[in-house]
């Protein structure tokens, strides 16, 4: 088996599914699942291998290079497994919607392009795969039409700006070194001046910063996440946005190298130091904006931005704990955010597309699996002990505290408390509280939706209780960047300034819970009652009239709302409107009428004749 076969299957499968959809819907669905599972198995087969292969039929005489190492394997396995789960989830979600052939084509194309990005060994193929990914994402974001078109437009404009910045960097590297192979450049770049390295890092950071939605480049994300079809939002939030993290790892630690990337600049004006602060800002502000949202998907989207800040914070901080934490958080975030979007998707599927938190409620008894998915998802997002999010956040906090950066640690920690407030509202308003009359007869989610949610819920607990499984791979990645290796066991991290042992925490909680449960069971039994049979201190509560959690955090809103306007988005819109005004005024001149153009030509000629007659320059 070889790497090119993997990519051929990925891309070929996507096209084949489109054609198959014209013949039979059943065959298309099962083939889509089959292809995505085959990709998982194939990627898993490459575990631990290091391959670099050159093909000399490339673009403009440039060779095409494919390469595989621990870093690309780690991202590839995450992409392919989450892609497979999202494809399975799509089966019922897409039933009865228009254009499913096109949807599956694009979904698998995005997957294939992401695999291409992480397996690319030269910057041209990296760029081509990057563009395929951006454009198919654009088509999928605007799949639902209406407001989705505007969201897709915002995405693609920002994406093009990023791609152009990256293209400048690639061209500059090519003219300087005469090659675009990643390994050749990384070998040759060491003696370059720090000014040139800074330039390369900045242009690539613009591209990857837009993709990863770092403040102030985040504005495309909330609308795109909210408007895309839910299974695709899961892919978009889980891995696609995190291609930016892969890009940062590639440019900082593979191409430029840790030693030069972390010593660029002086004092507090270091490149990575500025990136770290941007990461910290990206954690705090979006997390608090998320509290103000009433739309389930917008709320998660803002958390998607905020959690991206943790990854950047860890990776750019540049200690081995930090980089391990950042990479691990990328995986963990992918798992729980995909689960959360699936949970929202399942609710949407059963309630006819409802995602307004103020009109849902009480679905726990109707959709128990979606509730458990949501509960474990928010626990991971908060970073509760025994979920995967805790371990990666612990690594990041620890390195920030021990290295003496308490203010950065404060930004990271307070983000957690902002998260608790908003995700409690998220879970409560969908699954707890009153069940509205109109959702009385709702069915539980179909099996093809439950299966991916169960798998991901188990993954959250598995990586939270035995974090050593992924940490072993990540440790190998970080060691290949030249950082020192961590002392990782299957259930935790040992060090002199504080250890973590998740299996002990797990056993303690399990035994305590069993003990309390026995106490609970052995005492007087409780009587189950209906939801509206409750105590209101003598006041009368009308049925199905009020929603008790609308404007849930109103006292806090009044205090913090003035500080949380999205000024950056407003700034971009203002620039856009200036450009529009400018273009309109140009349009007064460029009317498109031939008569005007003839007049311009005559006026210009008259001007030239006047100049000649007056000053005789020619």
């Amino acid at each position: 088996m070889s790497l090119e076969l993997l990519l051929i299957i990925a891309f070929g499968g996507a096209l084949l599914i489109y054609l198959l959809g014209k013949i039979s819907h059943k065959a298309r669905d099962s083939f889509a699942v089959f292809i995505s599972l085959v990709l998982v198995v194939m990627v898993a087969y490459f575990y631990g291998k290091t391959i670099e292969k050159t093909f000399y039929f490339g673009f403009f005489g440039l060779p095409l290079v494919l390469r595989l190492n621990m870093l690309s394997w780690f991202f590839a396995i995450a992409i392919s497994s989450l892609g497979a789960l999202c494809t399975i989830f799509s089966l019922s979600y897409m039933k009865g919607r228009e254009g499913p052939d096109f949807y599956y084509l694009m979904m698998l194309l995005v997957n294939a392009a992401m695999l291409g990005i992480v397996l690319a060994g030269d910057l041209v193929s990296f760029y081509i795969f990057w563009e395929i990914m951006s454009w198919s994402t654009f088509l999928l974001i605007s799949y639902n039409r209406g407001p989705a078109l505007a969201a897709g437009m915002k995405y693609i404009i920002m994406s093009i700006v990023g791609s152009l910045a990256m293209l400048i960097g690639i061209l500059s590297l090519y003219t300087t070194y005469g090659t675009l192979s990643i390994s050749a450049i990384s070998a040759a770049i060491a003696p370059a001046s720090s000014g040139y390295i800074l330039f390369i890092l900045i242009v690539f950071s613009i591209a990857f910063g837009i993709k990863n939605a770092i403040m102030p480049l985040h504005t495309w994300l909330p609308d795109s996440y909210a408007e895309a079809p839910s299974p695709f939002t899961a892919v978009l939030s889980g891995m696609l946005t995190r291609m930016g993290i892969y890009g940062f790892l590639l440019i900082m630690y593979v191409i430029v190298g840790a030693v030069s990337a972390l010593n660029l600049g002086t004092g507090i004006l270091k490149f990575n130091y500025i990136l770290v602060w941007l990461g910290a800002i990206t954690i705090v502000i979006p997390t608090f904006i998320a509290m103000l949202q009433n739309d389930a998907k917008q709320l998660l989207a803002w958390h998607g931005i905020g959690q991206g800040g943790y990854m950047i914070l860890g990776i750019a901080f540049g200690t081995s704990l930090g980089v391990v934490g950042g990479i691990f958080h990328t995986l963990n975030h992918a798992i729980y955010i995909v689960l959360l979007f699936m949970s929202v998707g399942a609710v949407q599927y059963r309630t006819g597309g409802e995602r307004d938190l103020n009109s849902l409620g009480g679905l726990i008894k109707k959709m128990p699996i979606a509730f458990i998915g949501g509960l474990l998802g928010i626990s991971g997002l908060i970073g509760m002990p025994l979920t995967n999010g805790f371990v990666s956040k612990w690594l990041i906090y620890k390195t920030l505290i021990v290295e003496g950066y308490p203010f950065l640690a404060f930004a990271a920690l307070i983000g957690t408390w902002g998260t608790i407030l908003s995700v409690y509202k998220f879970l409560h308003n969908m699954f707890l509280g009153q069940l509205p009359e109109k959702y009385k007869d709702i069915q539980k989610s179909p099996f093809s939706m439950q299966l991916p949610m169960i798998v991901l819920s188990l993954a959250i607990l598995l990586f939270g209780i035995l974090p050593g499984i992924p940490l072993k791979v990540i440790n190998a990645i970080v060691t290949s960047f030249g950082f020192e290796s961590l002392n990782v066991s299957l259930w935790g991290i040992a060090s002199e300034t504080g250890t973590l042992n998740t299996i002990n925490i797990f056993s303690a909680l399990l035994i305590a819970a069993i003990f309390v449960w026995l106490l609970f069971r052995s005492t007087a039994k409780s009587i189950p009652i209906a939801q509206d049979d409750n105590y209101a201190a003598g006041a009368y509560i009308p049925k199905d009239k009020y929603h008790y959690t609308v404007e849930f955090y109103n006292p806090l809103y009044r205090m913090i709302k003035p500080f949380l306007r999205d000024l950056i988005d407003e700034f971009y819109y203002r620039i856009a409107s200036y450009i529009q005004t400018l273009s309109d005024s140009i349009r007064c001149v460029y009317t498109g009428d031939v008569g005007y153009y003839v007049m311009y030509v005559i006026l210009f000629l008259a001007f030239l004749i006047f100049v000649q007659l007056k000053w005789k320059p020619w």
């Binding site: 009480g362 203010f407 902002g418 707890l432 504080g498 305590a512 109103n554």
Partner: protein
């Protein structure tokens, strides 16, 4: 190994006894400040035993699971706190684990109450979460100051360092943090003047309104544990822990009674007033402490 198992079993029981004793004592002392006679100190124990035999209602799966998880979470936190020389799980995690495990209890109660669909519960939970965001800001500054000062995230090392250098509360920059922690302690414990979330006269005890019988008993036990955890953390971080259990409990008692004298005479805050207060003086003190600590360290 045997002593370890003994410690794991004994420490939650000790914590429970102390916590329940504090509950009873609080009622007695508050009553005396109000010129009332007050119930006997063992009244909470009598109530709990009675409640376990009484009828109760359940609103469903999460209503039961939430309260069980919340109490189990509190028990786990106790296992991570050193008291005296006992600390059964000290080698499995430090302050960060304590900080995050402390979340399980309130979140469990909130999820449990959430399923009951009662307007009073919604108001109570909303207030509780806002209040916790309020005290978390100064609390995080305080904990970060301590961790930065001692260059460790292990609470046992913080305690051990104080055995040789003296209490943190009387050392220079950390006294500010200690004072700040003492000011926010009633908010952490959810007692007057910060009992906004369980205000009995306004919202019929908020998140507890649907609890009866064993649910109320378990919630009271949870409250006793929370009382213990909040004060024990203060004693460990700022009063140097203790060489043995007795002196540890004496320190806890002094902190608790001192706090009670101040708090018993204050009326209840409104939630906005509470957050404004928490984000003003305690935050300022804690912030100042952190800056000075950082300046000394560099």
């Amino acid at each position: 190994m045997v002593t370890k198992v003994m410690q794991i079993i004994l420490s939650p029981i000790l914590a429970l006894v102390v916590g329940v004793f504090f509950l009873g004592l609080a009622r007695k002392i508050t009553a005396r400040i109000h010129w009332r006679y007050g119930p006997p100190v063992i009244q909470p124990v009598i109530d709990m035993i009675r409640l376990f035999y009484q009828k109760s209602v359940s609103h469903g799966f999460m209503f039961d699971l939430g309260i069980i998880l919340s109490l189990a979470g509190s028990i786990v936190v106790v296992l991570f706190l050193p008291f005296g020389q006992i600390c059964p799980l000290s080698s499995s995690g430090g302050l960060l684990v304590i900080l995050y495990t402390m979340l399980i209890a309130p979140l469990g109660l909130a999820l449990s109450g959430g399923q009951a669909a009662n307007p009073n519960i919604s108001i109570g939970i909303s207030r509780k979460l806002i209040l916790s965001l309020g005290y978390e800001v100064p609390l995080l500054f305080v904990l970060l100051t301590v961790m930065t000062h001692y260059k460790t995230i292990s609470i046992v090392q913080v305690v051990n360092a104080q055995q040789s250098t003296g209490w943190s509360l009387i050392s220079c920059p950390l006294c500010l943090s200690g004072l700040s922690y003492f000011l926010i302690l009633p908010a952490i414990l959810g007692v007057r003047p910060f009992d906004v979330s369980s205000a009995p006269q306004e919202i019929s005890s908020g998140p507890m309104v649907e609890y009866g019988g064993k649910y109320l008993a378990l919630a009271t036990i949870e409250h006793a544990f929370a009382l213990f955890i909040g004060i024990a953390l203060f004693v460990n971080l700022f009063l140097g822990g203790a060489a043995n259990i007795v002196s540890f409990f004496v320190k806890m008692l002094v902190v608790f009674v001192l706090g009670l004298f101040i708090n018993a005479v204050f009326p209840r805050f409104r939630i906005e007033q509470a957050v404004k207060y928490l984000w003003k003086w305690p935050t300022l003190l804690a912030f100042l402490g952190l800056i000075i600590t950082l300046a000394i360290r560099n």
